[in-house]
Amino acid sequence: MEGLRLVAKGAEADLWLDSDWNGVRVLIKRRGLKEYRVPELDAEIRRSRTSRTAREASVIHRAKEAGVPTPLIYQVDLEAATIVMEYVEGERVREMVDVLGDDERRELFRLIGRTAGRMHGAGIIHGDLTTSNMIRSGGRVVFIDFGLGEVSWEVESRGVDLNLMYRMLTSTHYGHTAELFKVFREGYEEGLGPEAGEALTRMEEIGRRGRYLERE
C-alpha cells in the first residue's frame, strides 16, 4: 500500500502508519484472518456488529467522554475489520518501566492507577489492561487496544481487569511488582473513589480462584 508503513504486528492486528490520510497522520489497525479459527467464528470476532472492531470503536468513544485518554477514531470499516485512528506520539509503558528512574516510574504508575480508576468509574472495562496497551504521551497515559473491552459496572469485571494488571507486574515487571502495585493501587483509589476497595478485594479473590482447584 502506497504511503503506508507497517509499524507493528500485534497478536491480533497489524498497525499501519499513514502520514497523510486526508491531511492527518493516522494509524490504521487491521485485524487479520486467523487460520486457527473456523471462518464463522473468525468473522464473528473480527467483522460482525458485535465484533471486537465494532466494540473497540464504541468503547473508545465512551472512554473519551469520561476523560480517559484514548486515540481519536476517524473511521471504522467493519467489512474490512479496520479502524482508522489518531497516531499517538509517545512511548509504550511496557518498555519504559526499566528505563525510568524510581520517582518517575512511581509517578507513572500512580497516574496509570488514576486513569484506570476513572475508566472503571465510567463503566468501562478494558479487557486487556497491561502495560503493552498504554502509551506515555506528554504528561498523560493514553490507553489503547480496547478490542476486549466492555461496558460494565460489575465488581467482578473490575476485579478481572485489575488482576490482569497485577499479573503483568508479577510476570513481566517482576523487579518492581510490590512497589508499582502499591502506587497503582493508590492512584486507582483516587480515580474510582469509595468503590475501589471492593474491586481490589475481588482482584485478590480472583487471583486465588482458578489455581488448582481443591478437588479432594
Binding site: Y174, G210, E216
Partner: protein, 308 residues
C-alpha cells in the same frame, strides 16, 4: 563426572508413571499405568488405591526396561505437586520408602515444571513459551528472571476439566478430549457459545454451562455441539498463546499434548526423573522431614537453578 541415574515417580492424577533418567539426557525407561474409572471421571481415592496396588509392579518394569537394579540408582525423584492429594501421597510414600531403603537422597519435583522440562528435552527447544493444558491445568508460561512466570492461565476451570465434565454430561467416555474430538469430526455447524478471553487469561466455566444447556435443550446434534465446543475452546487457546508470544517475544511455542511426543506429553515418570536430575545436579535435595506433598504448589513459586 560419572553418569548418574535416577528413578522418578509421577502420581498426580489418574496416571501412575515411573521413569528412569540419566544425567546425559537419556531416558532409560518410561512405564505408565492408568487408572480407568468404571464410570465418570477420576475419583482421587480410587485412583490412589490403583496406584498403591500397581506401584511395585511399575517400579519393577521401569528398572527392568532400564536394565538396572535398585542399587544402581543415585537418588529418587517424585512428583510433589500440584495434583490430587491422595494420589500424590501414594507416590511420595513409595519414593520415601525406596530412598530410605536404598540409602539415597530424595528430590521433590513440581509436576508443571516437569512437563516443561521434558518438553524442552524432547523437542530441543531452548527457551520456549509453553502452553500447558491438561485435566487440571491451563497455563501459558515462559522463563523470565529465574522462574517460570505465568503470563496467562484459566480464571476458573481447566480446559480439560471443561471437556471431561461435558463428556460426562453427554454420556461420552472419559477422558473427554478424545471422545469430543471424535464426535466433532462428524459435526460442522457452529453453535453460538461464549468465547471468553481476558488478555492472556481464559475462562471455561461459562462455556461449560452454555454447552451443557445447549445439550439439554435437545435443539442440536451432539456432533455439532462437540464441534462447536472444540472450535471455541481451541480458538481461545490459540488466541491467548498468540498474544503471549507477541508479548514475551519468545521465539517458539511448546504445546503440550500436540507437539511433544505422546509418551512425554501425558503425565509420565520420565519427566519427573529428568527434572529431578536437573534439580539434583543443581544441588537440590528434599529431606524426608520436609517432603510433604503440596497439592496446590504453584509453578511460579518453584526455584529453577538449572536455568540460572
Amino acid at each position: 563426572m560419572d553418569r548418574l541415574v535416577c528413578l522418578g515417580i509421577e502420581s498426580t492424577a489418574d496416571n501412575l508413571g515411573v521413569g528412569v533418567a540419566a544425567s546425559d539426557g537419556t531416558i532409560l525407561a518410561n512405564e505408565i499405568t492408568t487408572h480407568v474409572p468404571e464410570e465418570g471421571g477420576i475419583h482421587p481415592r480410587e485412583a490412589a488405591r490403583h496406584h498403591a496396588s500397581h506401584m511395585g509392579e511399575v517400579i519393577g518394569k521401569a528398572l527392568k526396561a532400564a536394565g538396572l537394579r535398585g542399587k544402581d540408582l543415585d537418588f529418587i525423584a517424585f512428583s510433589q505437586g500440584p495434583g490430587l492429594g491422595p494420589c500424590l501421597r501414594t507416590g511420595a510414600t513409595a519414593a520415601r520408602a525406596l530412598a530410605s531403603y536404598l540409602g539415597v537422597p530424595l528430590v521433590g519435583v513440581n509436576h508443571c515444571v516437569a512437563h516443561i522440562e521434558i518438553g524442552r528435552l524432547a523437542t530441543g527447544a531452548g527457551d520456549p513459551l509453553t502452553l500447558y493444558v491438561s485435566g487440571g491445568n491451563t497455563i501459558i508460561t515462559g522463563f523470565e528472571g529465574g522462574l517460570y512466570r505465568v503470563f496467562g492461565e484459566t480464571l476458573d476451570i481447566a480446559v480439560g476439566n471443561c471437556f471431561d465434565s461435558f463428556a460426562r454430561e453427554a454420556g461420552l467416555p472419559y477422558p473427554g478430549g478424545p471422545a469430543i474430538e471424535e464426535m466433532a469430526k462428524k459435526g460442522g455447524r457452529l453453535i453460538p457459545l461464549p468465547y471468553v478471553v481476558k488478555g492472556m487469561d481464559l475462562s471455561f466455566s461459562g462455556l461449560l454451562t452454555a454447552v451443557t444447556q445447549e445439550f439439554r435443550s435437545s435443539r442440536w446434534k451432539l456432533e455439532d455441539i462437540c464441534y462447536s465446543l472444540q472450535e471455541v475452546a481451541y480458538s481461545m487457546l490459540g488466541e491467548v498463546t498468540e498474544r503471549a508470544l507477541a508479548h514475551t517475544r519468545k521465539p517458539e511455542v511448546l504445546a503440550k499434548a500436540s507437539y511433544v511426543p505422546i509418551g512425554y506429553a501425558t503425565d509420565n515418570g520420565a519427566m519427573i526423573a529428568w527434572t529431578g536430575m536437573l534439580a539434583y545436579l543443581s544441588g537440590v535435595r528434599t529431606p524426608v522431614e520436609t517432603s510433604f506433598i503440596d497439592s496446590r504448589w504453584r509453578l511460579d513459586e518453584v526455584e529453577v537453578p538449572w536455568r540460572g
